[in-house]
Assembly symmetry: C2
Homo-oligomer: 321 residues x 2
């Protein structure tokens, strides 16, 4: 229905990076290559292919390639990268070392996104500046944003504003607990604190609001939106990129390659290998503003559909248990 | 997160009525009884148990009980109805006869909801007045609202306002094509035209927006919201009642009985019997503002996952086919 065509919005695909949280990034090279080709053909602007992490800190036997996203692997899998899309990796504070980054002119990576909790904003600033110093465009994601107070958030954002030249800073609804009015409140704080950065949004679908909250964020001023193919992602998953591209009505976007990738890759993946999407245990942790770890554990147990007991357990005060 | 507690909002469960569109209302008496008990225990305000239709017009061998919702069946299945919940049926214009309604004091039914297209508003007024004359509370649903123009809608609503004493008139996003800003536009029109009625909203989940659009409708002035257990409903389904009740934060609501019903009834129903929810063919008809019938047909065929072909077919002008 809506005829909005907001061409200032950029779309960041994080299908492999976020989807990999489900299966320790054990996606085949062929699968990742197919997803990249589909996303490049859709016109999406950024492709976050995985985490960059040190092989000294994580065992390559336990984790797939996209936990490390080494340059030599990327060069092999992304045979041809059109200029219309930028390729990047995410880094966690303390899980990557300086020598994990080649100088930009020796790398196929365009951008590096630093994931941080608000309490670690000083470390995030340092890491963003380190990768920027190596020549990469830098972004910052503030995780678990539903757990921080507005004053601390404003202060942290002011530090990012003053101390980095990150291109964008994103709100991450890690617990999938935000309602649209919460998103408005947060985007307003970001707009006030960040005068020289784009504002981004990364939703989770615990309450079927990842896409709706992304719409709300854009309508409040965000211009940098995360999404994944078919909404794949840990737990309830993310904002589906097919919905976001269709809504944006930017003529540069085309959802047909994404639909083809879903039918060719994601239908089987979901039926036979990994689970994501709206399921009651994730809904419960979302509505309670909790990390999904208890719901993930439940889904791996033989009580995976014991929803009422799970709800009662999480809502009973410790002293009554 | 959000602390809103909007106690003026009433919740209408239409699990059996709308879910029955998938399986011709062939739910067992035990299942319907269990769902009613869960919804009554949750504190929801209205329970729409099925359609009321004439057995002269539909073959009882082809359709289950909830296509007809005869009073004798309702009395058997709803053994005990608390005063806190009202029981009702939906009627379609032309599919019900005057003598299908006992006088209210001989019936267990509290309310009758008339489903209509805007073009048939005169007939809807007559039918609403007929059931009102028999003593029932009356509601009106305006279906396929994404296909009507604002002028016609205002005129039709003025007729309902002047000619009926329906308690509520609801916006029905039959195609699941509305975005939140469309909902705002429509609720504004309803608010201007209907001074003596409540305004309602019935969302469909083609674009994962049924719950978000319900939130938007409430924030714009709607106070009468449809929802179903686990979002069951034809095609992509509806607004999940567990999400809506959790959001409303009204202390009279309790989601635990709903979660129990999902684990006891709906997990198996979905895995073994019937399909609903966010699936790409429904997303496609939703974004194109079309009736889901082509998507439903695709899902029943051996091409059920041929999404890209389906999209191309629906978006190619007839003259190029």
């Amino acid at each position: 229905m809506s005829m909005i065509a907001n061409e200032s919005v950029k779309v960041v695909d994080c299908t492999i990076r976020d989807g990999g949280l489900i299966n320790k990034w054990k996606f085949s090279d062929e699968m990742v290559s197919a997803v990249f080709s589909a996303i490049a053909a859709s016109g999406a602007d950024f492709f976050e292919i995985g985490y960059r992490a040190s092989e000294k800190l994580f065992d390559p036997k336990e984790f797939g390639s996209w936990r490390f996203s080494r340059d030599d692997v990327l060069r092999k899998v992304i045979a041809k990268k059109p200029d219309s899309i930028k390729l990047g990796v995410m880094v966690d504070i303390g899980r990557v070392e300086t020598d994990d980054f080649l100088p930009k002119d020796e790398s196929v990576v365009d951008f590096v996104r630093v994931a941080t909790y608000l309490k670690d904003v000083r470390k995030a600033v340092e890491l963003a500046n380190l990768v920027k110093g190596r020549g990469y465009e830098s972004f910052i994601n503030i995780m678990a944003i539903s757990t921080v107070n507005s004053y601390d958030l404003s202060e942290g954002l002011k530090e990012i504003e003053a101390e980095t030249d990150a291109t964008a800073v994103s709100i991450v609804d890690s617990y999938g607990s935000l309602y649209p009015d919460d998103v408005k409140h947060l985007v307003d704080i970001f707009c006030k604190s960040l005068k020289t950065k784009k504002i981004g949004f990364h939703g989770h679908n615990n309450q079927q609001l990842a896409f709706a909250n992304t719409i709300e964020a854009v309508q409040c001023g965000a211009t940098f939106c995360d999404a994944t193919v078919n909404g794949i992602g840990r737990g309830a998953g993310n904002c589906p990129i097919e919905l976001l591209l269709a809504w944006l009505k930017n003529p540069r976007y085309n959802i047909e390659p994404v639909l083809k990738a879903i039918q060719d890759v994601f239908v089987d993946l979901r039926e036979k290998e990994i689970e994501w999407g709206y399921l009651i245990p994730y809904m419960i942790t979302g509505m309670l503003n909790e990390h999904p770890r208890t719901a993930i554990a439940l889904r791996s147990s033989d009580k995976k559909d014991h929803y009422a007991d799970f709800y009662r357990q999480l809502t009973t005060p410790e002293c009554f248990k």
